[in-house]
Subunit: 333 residues, 2 copies
């Protein structure tokens, strides 16, 4: 069997990222650090990231007989957009750790970290223009949707939300770049119409499954695997899907206690205490929320596999994509 999708293009992607971020101009070293091309002292390292999004671009381009050379700048641009969003997200959430290492803002301060994200954003688009104007346009539109999703996510901290609100938010915050990954592969191959919309649909299904899996890891993931504290999403009152479903299911005393923990402006000032985090995890288990989320993830993955079958991929390509989809459902980080 051929190499897995996440292994097949790492060399090209790392090379492209290195070229996009090379030089001594201000902030470049910080950007290389963020992507994992350097450690804090400027010594070259191998990046720890999965490079899921650019790998998907290149895989789809290859399957649809597009040119990898044409696709690569847009794949690298997409990874840089993802990287820029993480720099700014970590400031917004005051997350001190990213992939097991100090977040950019903890190294250079919030002010310069805003600049670092801004620069990575601009470099992303200028890199993607190297593929084609339509690739750059697709990437910018996805970036706009992603930012709108991040805006909604922050708003959610201050009001009650439904599972529907939540899915609409992740379709933007996470889904936009994953849909874009599949579309960029299609753009590099010159496909349009039904194939392109099926690609976007596949990306949408993968995006939902991926984000809900991420939410599960944010509560039940292991510290050392994930590189950040288990339960941290509860501690910070993030309204991820498990919490939204818990609110829908809780009644009586449970409901009242949850409202005290999550509700109101006053509560939002500090984090949730360790004892209360443990109580929330207990209620999630008791009310079968984890199982419900697992079912949703599997549903979106099945939807993805269904869409995958309608794409003109090779048999080998289809089975490699199915393998990746299975990996995303089982991943621990």
């Amino acid at each position: 069997m051929a190499q897995g999708i996440l292994q097949a293009y790492r060399e090209e992607i790392e090379g492209g990222l290195s070229r996009a971020l090379e030089g001594d101009a201000p902030l470049r070293s910080l950007l290389r650090y963020h992507i994992g091309l350097e450690d804090e002292h400027g010594t070259p390292t191998r990046p720890a990231g999965k490079f899921l999004r650019p790998s998907l671009v290149l895989f789809v381009a290859e399957q649809l007989a597009g040119s990898l050379e044409t696709a690569l700048p847009s794949a690298v641009g997409l990874e840089l957009i993802h990287g820029f969003s993480l720099i700014h997200d970590d400031i917004q959430d005051r997350d001190r750790v990213r992939r097991g290492r100090p977040a950019v803002w903890t190294i250079c301060g919030i002010e310069q970290a805003i600049n670092a994200g801004d620069l990575m954003h601009a470099l992303a688009i200028s890199t993607a223009l190297g593929s084609s104007p339509s690739a750059a346009d697709c990437l910018i539109r996805a970036t706009q949707e992603m930012i709108e999703g991040q805006c909604r996510d922050l708003e959610f901290e201050r009001r009650d939300i439904t599972a529907e609100d939540y899915v609409a938010m992740i379709d933007r915050k996470t889904g936009a770049l994953l849909r874009c990954a599949f579309e960029l592969g299609g753009i590099a191959s010159g496909v349009n119409g039904r194939v392109r919309s099926t690609l976007a649909g596949l990306g949408g299904s993968v995006g939902r499954a991926f984000q809900i899996q991420d939410d599960l890891l944010g509560i039940w993931g292991e510290d050392d695997v994930l590189g950040k504290a288990t339960g941290s999403d509860i501690r910070r009152r993030k309204k991820t899907l498990p919490i939204v479903l818990l609110f829908e299911r809780a009644v009586g005393e449970d409901e009242a206690a949850l409202k005290r923990l999550y509700g109101g402006e006053e509560a939002a000032e500090g984090g949730i205490a360790d004892d209360d985090v443990a109580w929330v995890v207990g209620r999630l288990d008791a009310l079968d929320v984890r199982a419900a989320c697992d079912t949703l993830v599997r549903g979106y993955l099945n939807e993805a596999i269904d869409r995958l079958r309608r794409l003109p991929f090779s048999d080998d390509g289809r089975s490699r994509m199915e393998e990746l989809i299975g990996f995303l459902a089982r991943r621990e980080r």
Copy 2:
């Protein structure tokens, strides 16, 4: 005599900005507020900004027989990049007032203001792509330079700098977008080679004059005209050109007192007290720093006029541009 450059294209520019920022999607109303298209309650208003940069794009395009319709998206994109940079700058500098109104971050908080800037950045580039890929490329490169300039500017707060460092910084922070304004006008007209590099040179001279004039206003500007507190650049220890020159000229007790006020990590924590601000202003006057800055501004404006004469503008166009250059040298905001 024909209409001034800053008046001639306002309608097209406001229309283009309105279209770029229309709709109910998250953050759009906040972006319209920032540009001055709406007040805090969403009621339409006329923007107070000069729209210097987009006016220059359209004026240059007109002079070089380019199409205004082709140039407009890039002109609007350039103004949006300027707007994005101001949203993030105000966060970084903790400036609470922008053009006499509350800064975006004071309304929606730092977290959402980061998103608002990010969204305006992305919208800027997708708007500019409506002119041409090369216009978008020019704008993105200028954006990168501008961000690098902002990075240097923040660094300057923490170390000694020379007048040379200062000019290298403003060539990026302010100069990049002004050079880009002239270049975008050229791109919309299909000019290349010598004309394009003369356009960039003219933008560079105007940029230096404009920024040093801004520095003068940051110390000697009137409160009600500028919409921000006079002396605020001193209070915040901004190392603008007057301060850099003051450091070069001060000796003995003056030098020691300045070093105490501006030097070291400890000093950088709080603002400079009102009495000390008044003392700094006194020393600037005593050591003829204001006159020296005025001389520099006039020098760069003369350089600009010299470059202007080498461009194939109409006689009327040349005199309108000279009028604008004169206005920039005398402006009070």
